[in-house]
């Protein structure tokens, strides 16, 4: 049985003054899926993602996020998504608990919900002893995991992760992906961009963007077969070499 589509795009395009950053991309993401969104720097990933998050208005084309239209229903979209940017996005001068409470607060969650969820989250990350410490004092890997947990704190239907594991060691990355799997099992759809090809292998399906277009979209295994490659690295290099656009 096919799961329902939670993200749908049709010919979605974004142009900036004579430059087409995202060129008529069409794809669907299914509910609960871990969707890898790959592409070289400047391929248009971030722009595409910003449109899907309602941060930027598309020039043309259609897109719906959890049933809400990206042109008109951005308020509704904001309620149903979580977002973690490549920049570390917690407040260093606030404690772990204060950060969690703040994000719970701006999503309008009740105190009871926040309290219960915080206890669960601290336990899950095994940082109960650090709850009242300033985030600045935590190691980077912990911060990253905490940032992810905060991004899905309000139980969104979809979470957008923009290169979430940049600068993190392989062990922590592995732990980070365990958290992603756990979230996925709870039914949260994961939309993730990454530069690490081993991470692409962890995704259910992967799309590869080249010069603003989606050049390939399949399961990692399917892609490897199509491009007759042994690793995702190979697949990516074959596609990325076709790029004519310089880094933006």
């Amino acid at each position: 049985m096919e799961a329902e589509n939670i993200i749908t795009t049709e010919e979605l395009t974004k142009r900036f003054a004579g430059f087409t950053a995202v060129d008529a991309i069409s794809f669907n993401v299914k509910k609960g899926e871990i969707f890898g969104f790959l592409g070289a720097n400047g391929a248009g990933k971030t722009t595409a993602m910003r449109m899907l998050c309602g941060l930027s208005k598309p020039t043309s084309g259609k897109a719906t996020i959890a049933g809400a239209d990206v042109y008109k229903q951005t308020e509704q979209i904001k309620k149903s998504i979580g977002y973690m940017s490549q920049k570390f996005s917690l407040y260093e001068d606030l404690t772990v608990k204060e950060n969690i409470r703040f994000y719970g607060g701006i999503y309008g969650k009740t105190n009871a919900f926040i309290k219960e969820k915080t206890a669960f989250l601290l336990h899950q990350l095994n940082i109960e002893n650090e709850a009242d410490k300033l985030v600045a004092s935590l190691p980077l890997g912990w911060k990253q995991k905490l940032a992810f947990s905060v991004a899905i704190f309000h139980e969104p239907q979809i979470v957008f992760l923009d290169e979430p594991t940049g600068g993190v060691d392989p062990v922590t990355r592995r732990e980070f992906w365990n958290l992603i799997y756990q979230a996925s099992e709870r039914g949260i759809t994961i939309f993730v961009t990454t530069h690490y090809m081993d991470e692409a292998e962890y995704c259910n399906r992967v799309s590869i963007m080249v010069d603003g277009k989606i050049e390939a979209l399949d399961t990692p295994r399917g892609l490897k077969e199509t491009y007759n490659a042994t690793t995702m690295d190979d697949v990516f290099l074959q596609l990325a070499r076709k790029a004519t656009r310089a880094d933006v």
Binding site: G54, L55, K57, S89, D93, E98, R101, G105, I106, G108
Partner: protein
């Protein structure tokens, strides 16, 4: 509402955790008032003076005593000849020398008219003018006492009354100035910096993806600084009343409301700066050059606007601090009521609305 409260709470954490900045923000008005009140003053007190008394009689001694007894002068030395005057000034030991000619007393007795020469060190022209003025007044007072039982055929007496500030205290003009300066610094610069910081760290993006409305973010950012400013207004007013003896002649409520209005102007300006800059350094630089310097130079607090060339006078009208400075002077020092500052208030309110509208527009277009 819950979102808003969470946000304001977070802003307070930021401010309270950064002890050093908080200390500067709250300490600055106190330090400035004290510096301006006690160190930077153009009143002259206890200036050293010397006499060259070639007459040496009762009248010259009385005049010398009067000068020495006043709080403006202290007798430093008694000279023997003219050459010493030059020498003394070169050493910088005295600011003023009073010369009595040898015939002083006999001229006074026989011709009812005598000369005194005042020699001042005019390398600092303001002090020289002030000191000769003081000395002349003291000598005239002495002369009046000599005359008290005789009648002159014609006398014209001028009596000058210094309205609103009878003692000509410098504090009357710098208290409003410091108030404008401090509010400007706290509100404009800190608001600009705090928003740009969130842009730099990437947390602003997270805010924009969340359901909280941009307007709420802006207001929540401004609330703590508004509160800090009210504390600063209070501490400046308390210091000026109890330490500098500058009374609040007008309506206190009116004064505070005008202070809050000006705070809002500054907050809006800070907001505008934050929406057009990307780094904290740029934001700080623009706040300093765009707001702080005009406040100091063009508000009329350091340099009188009336004496400026026309282009500068026109520019000064665009400086919010100029209007606020006028309002505070009128209300606090002159004790005027609202109707006399209505024009300035409307101009300030207009500037606030304009700046606020512009910055909200900028803030929103950035998202598209």
């Amino acid at each position: 509402m819950k979102q808003f409260i969470s946000f304001v709470k977070k802003e307070f954490y930021h401010i309270l955790r950064d002890r050093r900045t908080l200390f500067i923000l709250l300490g600055m008005p106190i330090v400035q008032i004290i510096i301006f009140g006690f160190a930077l003053t153009n009143e002259v007190k206890n200036a050293k003076f010397a006499i060259l008394d070639q007459s040496g009689d009762i009248a010259t001694r009385q005049i010398t005593d009067e000068l020495d007894a006043s709080r403006y002068f202290d007798l430093a030395s008694s000279l023997k000849n003219y050459e010493e005057i030059e020498h003394l000034f070169r050493q910088g030991k005295v600011k003023l020398v009073v010369v009595f000619p040898p015939s002083f007393n006999s001229d006074l007795q026989h011709f009812n008219s005598a000369q005194i020469q005042l020699v001042a060190d005019a390398s600092d022209p303001n002090t020289a003018t002030t000191l000769t003025g003081y000395a002349t007044t003291i000598i005239k007072d002495y002369q009046l006492r000599l005359l008290h039982d005789k009648k002159l055929p014609y006398t014209i007496n001028t009596t000058a009354r210094m309205l609103y500030n009878s003692q000509l205290k410098g504090a009357y003009s710098f208290v409003p100035g410091v108030m404008a300066m401090v509010l400007m610094l706290v509100c404009t610069m800190m608001t600009a910096i705090t928003i740009v910081r969130e842009k730099e760290t990437g947390t602003m993006e997270i805010m924009l993806v969340s359901p909280i409305q941009p307007l709420k973010i802006i207001i929540a950012k401004a609330v703590p600084y508004l509160l800090l400013s009210i504390i600063n207004i209070a501490s400046i007013l308390l210091l000026s009343v109890f330490v500098l003896d500058v009374p609040i002649k007008g309506n206190l409520l009116l004064l505070i409301s005008e202070g809050i209005l000006f705070t809002l102007t500054c907050l809006s300006f800070g907001l505008l700066i934050s929406s057009v800059t990307e780094s904290q350094q740029t934001a700080m630089f623009i706040s300093l050059v765009g707001m702080f310097l005009p406040t100091v130079m063009l508000s009329g607090f350091m340099f009188p606007i009336e004496n400026m060339p026309l282009p500068l006078r026109i520019i000064s009208r665009a400086v919010p601090a100029k209007w606020f400075y006028d309002i505070v002077k009128s209300v606090m020092i002159k004790g005027l009521s609202f109707q006399y500052v209505a024009k300035e208030t409307i101009i300030l309110a207009g500037m606030t609305v304009f700046l606020l509208a512009l910055s909200i527009k900028k803030f929103k277009t950035r998202l598209a």
